[in-house]
């Protein structure tokens, strides 16, 4: 069920590819190697969870992969474009068009309404957002009724869903999420996770999510375990997602985690081993 290294089928498209990417933070107090020559790929249409002990480099991986931060070594390719040679503006344009983000908090501009927040990336691209499009995006995350509310008037889960709607409005090649459920209660978490899962299932959206929660990770197609800036373990759902589902509850929207072959208990056990070893 688990493999030590990822064996990539040659037919699949690598939406995000990191080749021996390193990130070293230097400060007066000494240097920290957050990423240690990491090589990893993320296939189009897959949902990947990244786990690992605190400080293992999960956020750094996400930032480097998403072009938010520049690695100190190696190369990052998104949707066929290598990020290294791009200048700040080109990188911004690429992010705007190809990448969506959701973070644990601080996701929304507090002065703007939900609708305006969702439309922001389009406006930034100089596109006049069509009302219907924005409404549809909000409806998709179940917030059609809250379009005119400011972030201060929304619950944490609702805010997170607005952030997801905004991240998807430009139809990005990949959606990055750093602990999107970290600040939510279990019901709100479930709602957000269901949303992410559906995106991969129905739209073929590539999703890369950092999480501490084994339950959240169990919804993914593949789990990467990080320690000290390296991928130390990796496991995928036993069968390809589509097949697994059709053999399950007969086309129901969200198959139960247990049926997918990635059980939270298993993930939790692996994590415990990892945490004990470092």
């Amino acid at each position: 069920m688990t493999t030590a290294t990822s064996t990539t089928p040659s037919t699949a498209i690598e939406t995000v590819r990191l080749r021996s990417v390193s990130k070293v933070y230097g400060s007066a107090a000494g240097t920290v190697t957050a990423l240690d020559a990491m090589t990893v790929s993320f296939l189009a249409g897959t949902f990947t969870a990244v786990m690992g002990p605190s400080g293992s480099g999960k956020s750094t991986l996400l930032h480097c992969a998403a072009g938010l931060d520049r690695p100190t070594g190696g190369e990052v390719t998104i949707d066929g474009t290598e990020l290294g040679p791009l200048d700040e503006t080109a990188l911004t344009l690429l992010r705007r068009e190809r990448i969506g983000f959701v973070f644990q908090s601080f996701n929304l501009v507090s002065a703007l309404t939900a609708e305006q927040n969702v439309a922001l990336p389009l406006r930034l691209a100089g596109i006049r957002p069509r009302d219907a499009e924005v409404r549809a995006a909000l409806a998709e995350v179940g917030l059609a009724q809250r379009a005119g509310h400011r972030p201060g008037e929304l619950s944490g889960g609702e805010r997170q869903r607005v952030a997801i709607a905004r991240a998807l409005i430009t139809r990005p090649a990949v959606l990055f999420a750093d602990e999107p459920t970290g600040a939510l209660d279990s019901a709100a978490s479930r709602e957000v996770l269901r949303l992410l899962r559906d995106l991969t299932d129905h739209r073929g959206q590539t999703v890369i999510m950092v999480t501490h929660d084994p339950v959240a990770a169990s919804r993914a197609d593949r789990v990467l375990l990080l320690a000290d800036g390296r991928v130390v373990d990796e496991f995928t759902a036993g069968a390809p997602a589509g097949e697994d589902r059709s053999g399950g509850s007969g086309g129901g929207p969200g198959p139960a985690p247990a049926e997918r072959g990635l059980s939270p208990e298993l993930i939790a056990a692996r994590m415990a081993v990892l945490e004990a070893s470092c």
Partner: protein
Amino acid sequence: MLRTALIMVRGRWSGFAGAFVALCLGVALISMTALVYVSAAPRVPDRYEGTGVLVRAPAAEQAEGFFLEDRPWSPEAVTVLTGRLRGVPGVTAAVADRSFYAQAVVGGRPVPGYSRGHGWSSVALAPYGPVEGRPPERDGEVVLDRALGISPGSPVTLLTAAGPVPYTVTGTLDAPGFHVTDAAAARLSGGVRVIGLVTAADADPARVERMAREIVGGEGEVLAGDARAALEPRSDARTRWIGTQVLAGMAAVSGFVSVFVVASTFAFGVVQRRREFGLLRLVGAAPRQVRLMVYGEALAVGAVAAAAGAVLGAVLAPALGGLLVEAGFEPPGFSVRAALWPPVASFGIGLGVALLAVWSASRRAGRVRPLEALREAEVDRRPMTPARWIGGAVLTALGIGLAAATAGAAADAIVNYCLYAAMALILGLTLLAPVVVPPVVRVLSWPLSRTRGAAGMLVREELLAAVRRTAATAAPILVTVGFTVLVTGMTQTTAGAFALGRTAAVRAEAVVVPDGTPGLSDAAVAAAGGVALLPTTVYGEGGPPLEAAGITPEALARSADRLEVVEGSPGAVRGGDGAGGTELGAVVARWLADERGWRAGGAVTLAFEDGRTETLVVTAVVADAPVAVLLPRDTVRSHDPSALTGEVLVDGAVRAEIPGGRVLGADAYARNAGDEEDRLVWIFTLILVGMAVGYTGLAVANTMVMATAGRAADFRVLRMAGATPRQVLGAVAAESAVVTALGTALGVAVAFPALLGMRSGLSEKIGAPVPLIVPWPVVLGVIGGCLVLAVGAAVVPALAAVRRGR
């Protein structure tokens, strides 16, 4: 992007309120001063409103700030000119207009107000109503202003240049001024500079003007219609000029302070909104777009604020005009005229100021990196940039240089020098703040670190960690205190020094100064019995008019050892009639001798106030003459019957009653009580300081409110960590108090070196130690105001945050 900016502004209106108010007030002030400025054009004097065509003596170009009378015609030229002008068809009379000093004395005191006398025939040039009573017919008769309440037939005492003289009132007019017979006016006044043409009702003014021009030729200037405004009294022109200086100073201060306040508000806003900008960058905003958005916000706030300010200024302009007249910065009768371009131009300036102010803030906003959206409050790693170092050092040096230059500046330029010095120093120190702030904070907050509670430590560390924020909140206080200490200290010290210099020059024990009069009469000078200069104007061949003064031989002898003689001997100035073989002597200032090539022993020909010329011998050239030419007092008096003495320096007590004058002890004089010019300068200073303080007070409140609002999360954490609301508020209040102390310390640090430099310069110039005068009540009041404002502006929003947190 602009739309987003608009939405942002609407969403966080409170964050822009400070910039809005500052800009609105700045534009209002500029619009107001511009309106007053364009209204302050010369007007046709009322006295000449009744006649269409006037001729005046040729006017010579004068240096900026000089308002000496032009050279009058000689008596012969007046006779010839009036005779020929009277021959113009349609002209019924050519009136030689004469003016002299006269003031009514009622109840033993001179009546203030218009203090000029004229010949009766000048009344024909004015549109005055009919005389009640009859015109003056012989010496000792006068027609005066009905408003004085003296009825025809009553006796009246008129104060003239000679002293009090009894007159009989023969009539009253509904107009200011004292009208005596033409013969009496000729004796009391100097020369004639204006000839008015009284025309018949059916005369063609254009034809009269043309013919007058032919007759006068190069001997004068024919003025008709609006051009008659050139006949405005020189004293009014001078008042207007001072007013213009005041307005320019006000505009400069309001421009500077509004740029400063708006810029710091925007800069502070950017610092506080790093996370928001990071988020925008995260969702795909390019640095340029973030910059544009910040510009867009400034434009949105700026447009509304500038429009409101322009309108406000237009509404308030008449009130400002009234105030300026009252303070003596504009001549009486001045009123503000409506004009469109000043408000429109100030609107444009306001927008420009907003964009200029936001320039550096926008650059900083554009540099925010997307990851900053995900970080906790960032500690400023690189608060000092090379540009800051260079700019700060250059401006500080410039400020110190300007302050030193103040010592050498002319009296009327001192205020402006002070202002520029203050501005440069303030900007310099603000730029250097990130280096200067931490050590000062450490010293100032030392007492806090000795306290047992958590609050002391918290305050200290907060201030030290967020150097930029601390500097930003202290900046307006720095400006306020620095400005107040520097400007008030400079004006007071300089005024004191000049008075000291004047007193020291003659070692006088007392000084007699005018009291309710424009100057002292001969009778007053005689009663005082001291050293006095009789100021007048003389005219060389070509060139501008020259300031001159008459001095008695005894007085000259007494102050001879004080004059720095270049050549000749000033003692050789002798009085005389010039005809009886006695030679007339003149002491000439070196700059003038150099300019005209005059040498001691040589002869010079000068024209006087009455239009007559005289040939004098230059007895001495001196380096430090108080005026261009020193002449025997008798000579001056014989040519200028209307001249008044400015002040008399007296040794010993003055026993006699002095008509129209009062005695000041040397100390009182040195403190400059009652000196008109210094009073104006002081009022001007207070206006400027008041304005600057009003503005910066606004900025203090604004930055404090913004800083506190930005820290609601910190307060929540504190509360959760077990702090009582009282403890949180205490910490906030202590922090604002430390920031106020910081701003005050830096402000004083800005001001004192400059003041000390100026003092040493002045001491050197005067040759006596000059005391440093700082009006502490004003300064302490300003500091106290800042403290109340800062603490209040921090505690009130913190209180709201703490309440909300519960």
